[in-house]
Amino acid sequence: MLKSLVARTGILCRLNLKRDGLKLLIWMVGLAGLFTAIAAKFEGIYGTQTALNTIAKTLKTPAMVSLFGEFTAKMPYTTATIFATEMVVFMAIMMIIMNIMIAVAATRGEEDTGVLELVRAHTVGRLAPLLATAIELTSLNFIIGLLFGAGLQLAQLPGANTTGNWLIGMGLAASGWLFGMLTLCLAQIATTASETTMLSYAIFGGSYVARMVTDVQHPKLTWWVPFGWIEKLDAYQTNRWLPVVCMLLLGLGCLIGAALMSYQRDLGAGLIAPKQGRLRASASLMGPTTLLLRQLRGTLSAWVIGSAVLGAAYGSIFNTIGDLAKSNPMIKQLLGTSALVAANRLIVKQFIAVLAIVLVVVALIPAIQIMLKLVSDEQKGILHQLYATATSRWHVWASYTGVAVVTAGIVLLAGVGGMYAAGHAVMTTPVVWTTYRQVWLAYLPAMLVMVAAASVLVGWVPKWRYLAWGWTFYGFLSLYLGRLIDLPKWARQLTPLGFVNQVPVHALDWSTNWWCLGLTVLLLGLASWGYRRRDLAQ
């Protein structure tokens, strides 16, 4: 019985490898290379004890705790313990994104395109495709974990030990794997690939926010958040393996759940039953733009709400962050009340400047996704129907680009708005709305350049459209970690986001905004020209 359920898993594994090989290789090399490169650079950045003490002080502030987790390193600080604090959460985010993307494409993605139906028609066990994907993810995470461990061994950070190196490598692998297995489980519940992606990111986003709030307020509670386990490794100190065990157990549970559900359900169906549709189109469904909005309304509302919740979660800790007196009662006497308020406000502003980058990336993801959807809709043949009617190329291109641009603006606004609202509720002397508006105004033009660049790829070289993700990812990396890993200025300015100068700590620079807007217009012109003269992708 069991044997027939998993028949031909081996062949499917080889097929998966053939299909995903390049993608897996890029992730492996990319992540391991990034990790090792930063590790190698670390000694140069934090070589002296003074440098270590300074960065430790920064990492202890609530703002940094909210980004990187509780600071648990004990005196005397070593390069290795600082590295463990700074890198673990960030790398875990990358691992999780990788796992979600690959797991969705290999399960629901295959089902949506009908490939799975073909596969299942052969003498392939009912659970074999699921198991093959699980094996693929397991090997991928394990190999990356090994590479991380090996990279750390090579880097020989002062204060590191072999157990700690492998603990970090395996811990990151396990946290990625856990979310991979969770995605397999969600793929059985949702009905389509995009629904699965949404559900996975919703849970991921939720746990990110939960761990941030618990980290800042009650670090012990972070144990209740699976995403937070990665912070509890205590590498190079007590070297705890318990979190890794927890992740493996929960991941295994998810895999078993996925197998049970997959065994029960019909091919192509989910647990969420599809509703009946409308008999006739409503008057509002009348062109490419409304059509796109009609398709995306669920996704877009989810992004707006998600961004607002994330912003609000950040905002809700502003009182903790912006209270110097709490951590150091002497300060109040030293500075005097009004100076203290000003100092507190500056800290909050600094924090907003750092967080803005998270909100910006969160807003860029749906915008770029919509932009690239133009090509995937072509490939699915959906747009052929549209183009057979009296609808011009320009109109369709403009709809997708327009919706992408507006999405970028609205999702960022929701995030900034959520931050403002929550900050306003918890702070005694809240930061005024104008400050938040500046953030929005400062980042939007830079984001538009990136959306427009994605549009150019779509218009001219649709095969290379994934470069847009690479660029966005680099933008996130260079700004989230840039200063901490001492990335040179030119490297941070490889994306337009790098030109936005720490608003709201510094004033909004309109000259940057203007050239970004000018560049956007130029790129959009180029994109629309290209899109009108190329073959439709198929």
Binding site: T192, P274, R278, G381, D535
Partner: protein, 304 residues
């Protein structure tokens, strides 16, 4: 043949995908009120031609015009008066069939009319289902209903019945005949030869990216062989030596054979046969299938 201005005119159309020449030389025209059958083996380039006509692909050479306008430059104006149904209908997964029909009509400036409702009923489509849950045939019905309720002048169908059951296929044929009677032009690409034979006024055969033959079925019959099954009193041993006789098979002894004969040698062969004193003879005109086989299996020119 009417010498009115053609609705569709294609000359020397060429299309390359990288190094691969998908279309090397496409040439044909369709006149008002005509149903044109477009047939050819898999991968011959039918869908590619149609996609060029729709402005989805850009030709590398030659010209194609619909209503006298260039298909690439003026696609929007052309599409106002055109309807299209592909063989693989892909729809917006979370829209219902009813919504999609209305949307496609609206995009062409048409309305959901009583005719639309009648078509939905005739094709027995449940318009409330989400497109994701439709079967292949049902997705095709959605596109067909939208196309037939559009008031267009030119209809393009690319294997429109590949997923339909015989009842709905019948309905499709009736609808196309109605279009024809209303003076509309139709381009029908299909692998169902009986359908093409029944409905089309003229036929174009495409192979390896080149049009190898166009004309009416009668014209084409003339170009090919008639099958003859004959029984005579005297021996037919020498039939095989006559010019234009192919594929002789002996049915019973020397006096009952069947063979195929080239149209231009038919008279000579018949004279010879009657000289052998006929007992029974049946002659079968070539079906489209025979025609088709002949063109399909001919030597392959290099397309690289």
């Amino acid at each position: 043949m009417t010498q009115a201005t053609p609705v569709l005119k294609i000359s020397h159309l060429q299309k390359r995908f990288g190094k691969f020449n998908a279309l090397t030389d496409i040439d044909f025209a369709i006149y008002p009120g005509e149903v044109f059958g477009f047939i050819g083996p898999n991968g011959a380039g039918k869908s590619t031609t149609i996609r060029i006509l729709l402005g989805l692909l850009k030709a590398n050479g030659g010209t194609a015009t619909i209503f006298g306008q260039d298909v690439w430059q003026h696609s929007v104006a052309i599409h106002q008066r055109l309807a299209y149904v592909p063989g693989d209908v892909n729809l917006w997964p979370n829209l219902s069939g009813g919504e999609i029909i209305d949307l496609l009509l609206k995009l062409n400036g048409d309305q959901h009319t009583a005719k639309t409702d009648a078509l939905i009923k005739a094709f027995s489509l449940d318009p409330r289902k989400k497109a994701r849950t439709y079967s292949k045939g049902n997705r095709q019905k959605v596109a067909l209903i939208a196309a037939f309720s559009t008031d267009a002048d030119f209809y393009i169908f690319d294997e429109p019945t590949s997923g339909l059951d015989p009842l709905n296929e019948q309905l499709f044929q009736t609808q196309v005949l109605q279009l024809k009677q209303a003076g509309k032009s139709v381009l029908l690409s299909s692998h169902i030869l009986s359908e093409v034979e029944k409905m089309c006024d003229r036929i174009g055969i495409i192979r390896e990216g080149t049009i190898v033959e166009t004309g009416t079925l009668a014209d084409m019959r003339h170009l090919t062989r008639t099958t003859i099954d004959v029984q005579t009193v005297q021996s037919l041993a020498h039939v095989a030596e006559l010019p234009g006789v192919h594929g002789l098979t002996v049915k019973a002894g020397q006096n009952h054979v069947s063979f195929a004969v080239d149209a231009d040698q038919l008279t000579a062969v018949m004279q010879y046969l009657s000289a052998q004193q006929l007992v029974a003879i049946t002659s079968t005109p070539p079906t489209l299938e025979d025609l088709f086989m002949r063109y399909y299996t001919a030597a392959t020119p290099d397309r690289k």
